[in-house]
Amino acid sequence: MAGKNQIEHEGIVEQTEGDHVKVRILTQSACASCHAKGVCTAADLQEKIIDASSDRTYSAGDRVTLVGESRLGLQAAWWAYILPLILMLGTLIVTFSLTKDENLSGLLALAILVPYYLLIKIFNKKFLKTFSFTIKPSMD
């Protein structure tokens, strides 16, 4: 059943390619969700282009709502932030307790992110499948 545990985000269709649609969305920083949006335009609004699949045809400029399971949000945060964080902490603790060399272990902890993100790059195809969105028209 759809409708459960979903998260929605407003966006505007940028272009369509077959059953794939590129949707432009605006993300806002945590600060921007406050009342000061108008005042505080500094670097906290970003546009992103999101690929989404659609069941019907949209044309550029349509206002749509992106729908995805909210579980995916946490999953994405896991891959993007939490797992590398754990890796980093792990490296730091291990190398630090082995070598007692701060500079080295610090460097290694940061360096471990490089192979990690490369690995992520390899798994990209998989993510593409997991993190998919559907869209529906906004507000009829």
Partner: protein
């Protein structure tokens, strides 16, 4: 044991939101959805830890040796601002789908005062690197704890009729105040 104390202290006793007053804006402003709060916590922790490592080295290898610790503020803020963006750029390059998913689900993390504040606090406390990292990670978790608890309460308050004058910021601050009062019970636990 010192690590344990650092952790307990940063999460409960000296919670950065409820007793240090850092990151209040996202705390008050961030969406009332609990899952968003959780995701935010992950992101903030990650950025905070990286920022701590980098600023730690800047302090140790540049500022202190050259006797220019007065450049702390300006260099930290530049580095942190750059780092946050760098993380985004890397994510976008490395994994567009992941990046997109985060865009839909999480508000962006920018250089809020929690990150800068924690970075400054760490270097001012004469921690070694590991302690610094543990401290910043725990601070971020403390932030998350406060954020998620608060999101829960706010979600519940959405369901009842709050007196008109108290709606919005006042009631949120009141809840934060009572939470802070409750968290004072942990005093002395370290």
């Amino acid at each position: 044991m010192t690590y344990f104390i650092i952790i307990i202290s940063a999460i409960f006793v000296n919670n950065i939101v409820l007793s240090q007053f850092l990151g209040i804006c996202p705390f008050l402003g961030v969406s009332k959805k609990i899952s968003t709060g959780l995701g935010m916590t992950g992101a903030v922790t990650f950025v905070m830890v990286i920022a701590t490592i980098v600023t730690y080295f800047i302090q140790k290898l540049i500022l202190v040796p050259f006797g220019i610790t007065f450049l702390q503020t300006i260099s930290f803020i530049l580095v942190i601002a750059a780092l946050v963006q760098l993380v985004e750029i890397v994510l976008k390059k490395v994994s567009p789908p992941l990046y997109q998913a985060l865009g839909v689900f999480l508000p962006l993390i920018t250089t809020n005062c929690a990150i800068l504040g924690v970075a400054i606090m760490t270097v001012n406390r004469d921690f070694n690197l590991l302690e610094a990292v543990v401290f910043s990670a725990s601070s971020a978790i403390g932030f998350g704890l406060a954020l998620v608890t608060f999101a829960g309460i706010r979600e519940q308050l959405e369901l009842v009729e709050i007196p008109k004058g108290m709606q919005g910021a006042p009631i949120a601050l009141l809840v934060a105040g009572i939470l802070a009062m409750a968290f004072m019970g942990f005093a002395g636990m370290v």
